[in-house]
Assembly symmetry: C2
Amino acid sequence: MQIHSAIPDLRHALRNHGRVVFVPTMGNLHDGHLSLMVQAREHGHTVVASIFVNRLQFGPNEDFEKYPRTFEADCEKLREADIDLLFAPTEADLYPERQQYYVDPPGIQNQLEGEVRPGHFRGVATVVLKLFNIVQPQVAVFGKKDYQQLMILRNMTRQLALPIEIVGGETVRADDGLALSSRNGYLSPSERSEAPRLYRILSGIREAVLAGDKDFERLERAATVELDSHGWKTDYVAIRQQSDLQVPLAGNNPLVVLAASRLGTPRLIDNIDI
Amino acid sequence: MQIHSAIPDLRHALRNHGRVVFVPTMGNLHDGHLSLMVQAREHGHTVVASIFVNRLQFGPNEDFEKYPRTFEADCEKLREADIDLLFAPTEADLYPERQQYYVDPPGIQNQLEGEVRPGHFRGVATVVLKLFNIVQPQVAVFGKKDYQQLMILRNMTRQLALPIEIVGGETVRADDGLALSSRNGYLSPSERSEAPRLYRILSGIREAVLAGDKDFERLERAATVELDSHGWKTDYVAIRQQSDLQVPLAGNNPLVVLAASRLGTPRLIDNIDI
């Protein structure tokens, strides 16, 4: 596996490299990330991963400095996953000057995850566009666990006419349904046994909607009450359109149910396509 | 010369095409545009021009529908200029859905030209990024007459890590110094003989600054008074830093003097590097 931090070195290494599949990450890799690497391999000849903790997507109340950085362990995992090339820029490589030109996503950037993380998706969209311009992949893979991020990046890519196919990687779950996340490590043993409730509740909503229940607001409210009565502090449970995460209007647009809730210290998110 | 309107056709035609130089235009071509085509030829193997009147960069008070469209005459000029490929998308090709993802330039987008044209540079930056993503040139040429546009696109390209060299094409002038512009056609004969005053005044400021005059505000004010006393209605005369068009602070950053003023119906703009 080659490792580059300088943009010209990376571009040189990628010349004449056939179909490039790209998996951007912020490092601190777990099995969820590694399953994206496996899916990436199915989509092209050369798999490029990146590790970059992106200051732009951290809010004023979020601790950029304390984000876990585990570079050596990450490299070992990427080598085992047979990644061809790792792009690991420094802050000076990617932001040699203060970033002043941003990709500005539409209003959905301020809802759901964006409501508690102002500026987050603008920072995500901008860094991913820069990474795309540097790596110039034919395919890029993002986890479906961060559904709103995946939706925004998919729509950005289409609307900015980037010649890149966006692939949503399936969420990897523990046997009891809990979605894998670096944050699960902050759960106490009793919280860990409570945590799968989030997935069970989302699955229940999915079943109810498929069985014909159209009272989405009642379903969302009931799920919030159930979570909070078991010690959660719920930010949202929301049934939305898959394409743009807007509140569904009449019609048969494909739906997704998303939730974010705090259990003890960590804030867990999850979602299921309906 | 090949002509394409559909994005997939264009991409196919550009495969394996060596070093591509791109000159985006809104059509209604005059000798200023054609000089950009000549300069483009010096920078690569394949010269691609585009013609697209971009709705996004027109303000609510600007008449998108009435913008002059002279497609057949433009094609003839481009053929004579030996352009290899013309990209002439329809509105449905470039905006198949309502544009919701924008490139948002920094505050300078609301000064100078941006003060009278709110949203203009956001629209310019967004369409040029889309055109770049479609054509994927190694070099792109923009006229220095639209200096603020050139500056914003140059900084956007660098900040978004696009692998594209931005070339500023020199302004073409009539023998009396008037910068070529489609708007000159709206000048009456007496206005046409008055019009070169703009360039003379900017040249005078250039000489004064080079001779050591550092009272930029007085120079700007005097120029405005002189223009307006000859029947102009001046929006601005401004001495700025070339790199970002900010008001120059202490130091020896390269400067430019820019002006916009209405003479009769048309609004003329011009600038000179100092």
